[in-house]
Amino acid sequence: MRDLCYSYGDRVALDALALDVPRGSIFGLLGPNGSGKSTLLSILIGRRQAASGSVSVFGLPLAPRLRARIGIVFQEPSLDPNMSVRETMAMQGRMFGMKRARAASETERLLDRVGLLDRAASMTTTLSGGMKRRLELARALLSGPELILLDEPTLALDPDSRQALWQHLIEASAAGCTLLLATNDVHEAERYCGLVALLDHGRVVAQGAPADLKRDLRHDAVRIEWSDDPAADALAMGAWPGVGHVRLAGRTTHVTVDEASPFLTRVFQESGDRIRAVQIEESTLEDVYFQLVGKGIAPRADGESEVAPQ
């Protein structure tokens, strides 16, 4: 992708975005909601036309026929409520021009792999959230795509379902499939993606292997548990020299700092009697993102807030 631009009216979604996704990689597009991830995926499947710039997939310009080599798992549910599991797969096979015998045998194999073979005759409405996601993945894999686009594939899944889904994705990757994943789940991106691109307002602010990005950061992350409300402390710490990102969740603060030792010395000097526990953690991509953009990636849970650096 080169100099890709797209706008929704006055709001710029992609701003001269440039990106290379190597074949066979698990590539994460990491950014907060509205950073342009989903827009980029919708351009790749031809749903939207970029206002300017160029895109090529497998070295070829985008064309409907190219979509035969691309599978997609959408962010929102995308199953037909009037179809059974097997009918869903058969429909996909026909839409992708597969021979019926091959589609049928692949369906059996994939449903078996994602643990839905015994539910093949069930209507999609009777499946759990995790099962639906697995079916959507099996459907995306049916035609043997070389590239799979995944838009927040594990959103709203329980931990077991997440793990199961990732297991299947890793298998697909091992079979040579390129995975391009849009997510705002930092931990998932760090754990599973070989490469990530950090997006902000439709621009790539950094890209590379998660470990390399974090190495460049050279920050420590300190987690402090307080005996009472640390809101005022968090605000004060945000103004200290060497302090980056301060996140507040209940009575816990998560702080990135240039060096943990002088920071902790000062914290204990000023508020030592109110500290219950301290833990020095490895920095995350969230910290990298904060360092580069000045805000976080993941949507804040209830009660969580951020303190901007002074």
Partner: protein, 260 residues
């Protein structure tokens, strides 16, 4: 080409299967016009005793068939919104086919469902003793002509449904507009009363109304015992065919907004 045809066929099969599984839609779409035929037809012919219309129940039958196609094509076109809301439309549009193939499959299925319902009403009506079809061109030619009229009407209405769907974001709005547009059209199409004795301004509206030509074709095939009809068969065929082809073409060629 074969892959595109198979994709269209797959989409049509899927919509037909969904329709067959929706028993309430299946039964109500056939029972409602028959019920109206029995109640309105008997009520008007016995209660009002219209002097100008010989055998009102038989006269009303082509109108009820036209009404069936109006309702069924509206419901079938609305399945576009159901597919959009369930997310499956995005999946179809992410296939290697152009949006036009997807719209063609969906619109053709609406045509088939609407035509099948119209033909069922026609078949049931022809078996009712109180309805006396004239079959003035002979039974088979008249039957084929009325089926042709039903099919043309459905091509026109399903295409119109797609055109409206490109402009209207919500299914509720779509139903509202379809009813607002098509219900009045039904009333001055000759479905409920003959156009030839209406005031001039209603006659003009009747001439501008595409449904009038379909109803007239069916009146010629099933009811009339003279050959002329209101517009005459050549004009009915010419206008309805032209409209059906044009509206179906533009309806299936419309752009599919990524946000709709």
């Amino acid at each position: 080409m074969m892959q595109q045809l198979d994709a269209v066929l797959a989409l049509v099969t899927r919509d037909l299967r969904s329709f067959a599984r929706s028993r309430s839609q299946l039964y109500s779409s056939v029972l409602f016009p028959l019920m109206l035929l029995a109640i309105l037809g008997t009520g008007v012919s016995e209660g009002l005793d219209p002097k100008n219309i010989h055998d009102y129940v038989t006269f009303l039958t082509p109108g009820m068939i036209a009404m069936t196609t109006v309702f069924s094509s509206t419901f079938s076109s609305a399945s576009y919104y159901q597919d959009r809301d369930s997310g499956i439309l995005k999946v179809f549009l992410a296939s290697p086919h152009s949006p036009r193939i997807v719209l063609l499959g969906k619109t053709l299925s609406a045509v088939i469902i609407g035509a099948a319902q119209g033909v069922i009403v026609l078949a049931v009506a022809s078996a009712i003793p109180a309805i006396h079809f004239q079959w003035q061109y002979g039974v088979l030619p008249s039957l084929l002509l009325s089926i042709f009229a039903i099919v043309l009407l459905n091509f026109f209405l399903s295409g119109l449904g797609q055109l409206l769907a490109s402009k209207i974001r919500s299914m509720q709005g779509f139903h509202l507009v379809m009813n607002l547009v098509l219900f009045p059209f039904l009333f001055f199409s000759g479905a409920f009363f003959p156009l030839d004795r209406l005031p001039e301004w209603l006659k003009i509206l009747g001439r501008l109304n595409p449904l009038s030509y379909g109803v007239d074709m069916m009146h010629l095939a099933l009811y009339a015992d003279g050959r002329s009809g209101y517009f005459g068969l050549p004009l009915d065929l010419a206008v309805l065919t032209l409209l059906a082809v044009a509206v179906f073409y533009f309806g299936t060629s419309r752009a599919v907004s990524p946000d709709q």
